[in-house]
Subunit: 427 residues, 2 copies
């Protein structure tokens, strides 16, 4: 059976965890001139590229009151309730991420503390494409608001009629966001990074996007604008043992595979039997999926791996460092202690990734492409910087000053030493 | 008087907060081929560039036991004691940055939590250049160890005799670090990013460096290696009112200016009188400074600004977003409430930047170049990723499942919906 691997040796793990490579240079050659043009020509350049790439002529970049009112009236009650529930859970979980100031006296008279201060101006990019991702707006705007960001700019591309999906506008008004612009792609990243006559410049840009959007975020990052993280195609790894439910596992793999043809899906199972059962379920469920063709292509690039020993299996999964990891086992809680590298982890047979994508409360903006080895998903932390403060009394300076003098001198930095000496001499 | 500004209008703030621009493209043209060469040819390439740039022929990249023993014996007791004191204070402050796991039940049956897990493999770059920065080794290695990083690789260039400064080696052994390599510059970043036969590949690279090192860090970041932050020349802003001590302020400005000719120094004072007093002190103190020429050049690029209204002054300082901010005032505590953008803040007349550079306990690896608008300095947070977990019971899925179904359907993601439906149907 194709893309099935039985107890792969460590030497081949490298190939199994490999992600698709991107040609940065050629992407940058396309993206950099657009960034430059928007930086210089502002709204005019935005309208030009929106006409060129999105095939729409926008009179106004700003979303009007009328459009928002229409959105509110057009969303059905069940969807409104669902969004409300998601909002509450996301808020509840992210509120636990705020931090109090804790003052530490490291030496008598030397007080040190950190103060989380909101990044003042943030830009949220909500992709258009094949799905209206109002859930991403919840996932980015709620922690931004909890952090206390002052200006929250939202950019999202309009459809061919120049409209933004009403669910996105409904979500925006529910959250009280009112700087929503109908701009997508590279020009949106440029608008938020450099500012235009209409859109105010931001300090940090968040949100997923295609390769061009990602390349644009990386380029503006060099110009002094922070970004949430480098983004790649979405990924799911499932660990399944004999207590997993094959039909659930198949449904979870498909929920990832339907995202895009470049989605990454990996199943690590403790027996070949489990994989065969899951594959059988996949064939049946795939036939009923509206986004069947996308999912089929994504599954074609996926790996089904038998590793009988759980410890080795989690070694492999940590090497892969998946964005999402489902532990489909009744022993999920104990097994989860082996997790070292992952974005978000789902424990047990009743914790599908889809729950975390929308409504459990955790964030769905997560590190892909192996970045889970070093990056966290988006949280309130992503919207603050923690400024350190220190307040040293005369007594405190007497206590640590001589050590600073010695160290500064040893580093050959006499100016540093003198900043201490001149004070100690006055005491 | 040159570079003095009296109540500058908001229109000119933009010019006053401007940092030197770098020519990314030409830096990358130099750096990229070196990265590629080390990636392909490993240690051989490292030795080639070390010979070419550092003019030394290294037999061994690894620091030997003998060298470490020599370092221990050659460091004088006062410096040992000073390093020990700094180590204790840095440890005490950074230990407060660890986080406990807090489980939140967002909806009955839906448990969510975050778990901080150490980044397993980290690389610390300690620059050589004009000062042996053993203090930077303390600032990077201590939080890495508190976070629980498994492999800590240290790269630092050797001098013309092929030796590393004993104070760096002494600090390394004091901390129990034993992967110290005599490699500097772009080749060191490449070695840590890609690994060689001797040096193991890391997940994240930390540490300051010159423009080439910074460009190298940004390039390897695109290849999947995280970096602490983009680095630029060091900066200090001082706010001084009539309760400041002119000689202290001058000493602090010089301690920053001596770092390098590209160091940034800004003084914002509430009166012209203060600036004249500080300038007078600068002239006198500068004449006695060993690194006088460096400091003089840096001061030449600096700004002395009178802003009488404290609120406006802090507006300006927040726009500047300095790496270091000293509030030289007896009202520092109250004034500090205005701080929105800064890396590290020093309150009052007895809190010189030099104290935080070495021994107060706060970290000295801080955002420069205006990045303090969006980035924090290095902390224990920088060495962990926070993995989210969720554990949903059958009851929990009954509670949130229907909302997920509605939202997934509205986003056109039926596979996501089905991952819920297939489970709810079994309950």
């Amino acid at each position: 059976m194709e893309n099935m691997f039985f107890e792969p040796r460590k030497e081949v793990w490298k190939d199994l965890i490999k992600r698709p490579a991107f040609d940065h240079a050629s992407l940058e050659n396309v993206v950099a001139p657009i960034l430059r043009d928007v930086r210089i020509n502002g709204n005019a350049a935005i309208q030009k590229y929106t006409a060129q790439f999105d095939k729409i002529k926008l009179e106004e970049l700003y979303v009007s009151e009328t459009e928002i009112e229409y959105a509110i009236s057009s969303i059905e009650k069940p969807l409104k309730n669902a969004i409300e529930l998601a909002k509450e859970n996301i808020t509840r979980f992210h509120k636990t991420q705020t931090e109090n100031i804790l003052i530490t006296e490291t030496t008598p008279g030397v007080l040190c503390w950190r103060k989380p201060v909101a990044i003042q101006n943030v830009g949220l990019y909500i992709p258009g494409g094949t799905a209206p991702l109002f859930s991403t707006l919840l996932m980015l705007a709620i922690p931004a608001q909890i952090a206390g960001c002052k200006n929250i700019v939202v950019c999202t591309p309009a459809d061919k009629e120049g409209k933004i999906h009403p669910a996105i506008l409904y979500t925006a008004q529910l959250l009280g966001l009112n700087n929503i612009y109908k701009i997508g792609g590279v020009q949106a990243i440029a608008a938020m990074a450099y500012g235009t006559a209409t859109i105010s410049k931001v300090n940090k840009i968040f949100g997923p996007g295609n390769q061009f959007v990602t390349a644009a975020k990386q380029l503006v990052n060099r110009d002094g604008v922070a970004i949430d993280m480098p983004a790649g195609p979405s990924e799911l790894a499932v660990y399944a043992d004999e207590t997993a439910v094959a039909s659930f596992v198949a449904a979870d793999l498909l929920s990832q595979a339907e995202h895009g043809t470049d989605s990454q899906v990996v199943l690590v199972a403790t027996s070949k039997k489990i994989i065969l059962e899951v594959k059988n379920e996949l064939t049946q469920q795939l036939a009923q999926l509206p986004r069947m063709e996308i999912a089929r292509t994504a599954l074609g690039n996926s790996h089904f791996i038998v590793i009988q020993d759980p410890v080795t299996a989690f070694h492999f999964l940590n090497e892969y460092a998946p964005e999402h990891l489902i532990i489909a086992s009744e022993a999920a809680e104990v097994l989860s202690l082996h997790v070292i590298n992952a974005g978000s982890v789902f424990l047990g047979n009743y914790s599908p990734e889809a729950a975390g994508d929308y409504a459990s409360g955790t964030n769905h903006t997560l590190p892909t492409n192996g970045y889970a080895t070093a990056y966290s998903g988006v949280s309130v932390d992503s919207f603050v910087k923690k400024i350190t403060f220190q307040q040293i009394s005369k007594e405190g300076l007497k206590n640590i000053g001589p050590a600073v003098e010695v160290m500064a001198e040893a580093e050959g930095l006499d100016g540093h030493k003198n900043a201490i000496t001149i004070r100690l001499n006055k005491l």
